[in-house]
């Protein structure tokens, strides 16, 4: 399963719920305001770094860039993809679930 998360973890519980209910082995892609969750210095950083063994984490590059985060330190292990990479993930995984 590919899970997309589009909310900042500092504003909503979207990322937290995704991490609670996604099955191990899933891909989790942070998009839109969800990319704020990828920041290494953020309060949510531990939530993601502690689950690196369970999930593969991705963040959408164009959304990072739009928010001034291209050069910002991100949590170790998060992979950056563009929209083409998003399409590849959606095609590789058997289904997508949007956490809104």
């Amino acid at each position: 399963m590919l899970h997309t998360v589009n909310k900042s973890p500092l504003e909503r519980n979207t990322l937290e719920s995704c991490l609670r209910l996604a099955a191990k082995g899933s891909a989790i892609l942070l998009i839109e305001d969800g990319v704020y969750g990828a920041l290494a210095g953020g309060q949510a950083a531990e939530k993601i770094s502690g689950r690196m063994g369970d999930f593969t984490f991705y963040a959408l590059g164009p959304d990072l860039a739009a928010r001034g985060l291209s050069e910002a330190p991100l949590i170790d292990g998060i992979k950056i993809v563009d929209y083409g990479g998003f399409v590849d993930l959606a095609a590789e995984r058997e289904a997508q679930q949007a956490w809104l």
């Binding site: 996604a22 099955a23 289904a95 679930q97 949007a98 956490w99």
Partner: protein, 128 residues
């Protein structure tokens, strides 16, 4: 394109995930409309209520004072449409001080680990 463009033999596992409370936004009501329509397509339909979505099932809703339609009785009608797999996350209920007795309809209450297995085994996931 015509309605009968697809192979009627195909049965996919459809999951509807409700994580939003009713009335404050339209998502809960319009999501329920989608669930009802899906019943006409003879697919394998499951509905999950988690986070604030569990509030959609709270007993005793009275919307007369806000002049909106109370759609909570419709959840009881889902069985008649052969939509029988209603799952509620235990952790979400507990976090909101609710129990199964507070809900308008019979559901299966599962913990997040059990629920995640069901959610992972779907072909199409529709969220609102």
């Amino acid at each position: 394109m015509e309605e009968d463009d697809f192979d009627p033999e195909v049965v996919k596992r459809f999951l509807f995930v409700n994580r939003k409370a009713p009335y404050g936004t339209v998502y809960a009501l319009e999501s329920l409309e989608t669930v009802l329509i899906s019943a006409a397509f003879d697919q394998d339909v499951s509905v999950v209520f988690a986070d604030d979505g569990v509030f959609q099932l709270k007993k005793g809703q009275d919307t007369t004072g806000i002049n909106m339609k109370n759609f909570s009785p419709t959840f009881r009608a889902l069985e008649g449409y052969d939509v029988e797999k209603l799952y509620v996350e235990k952790e979400s209920l507990e976090a909101r001080g609710l129990t199964e007795d507070d809900l308008v309809v019979d559901v299966e209450v599962l913990n997040s680990e059990e629920l995640s297995k069901i959610m992972a085994a779907q072909d199409v996931v529709i969220t609102n």
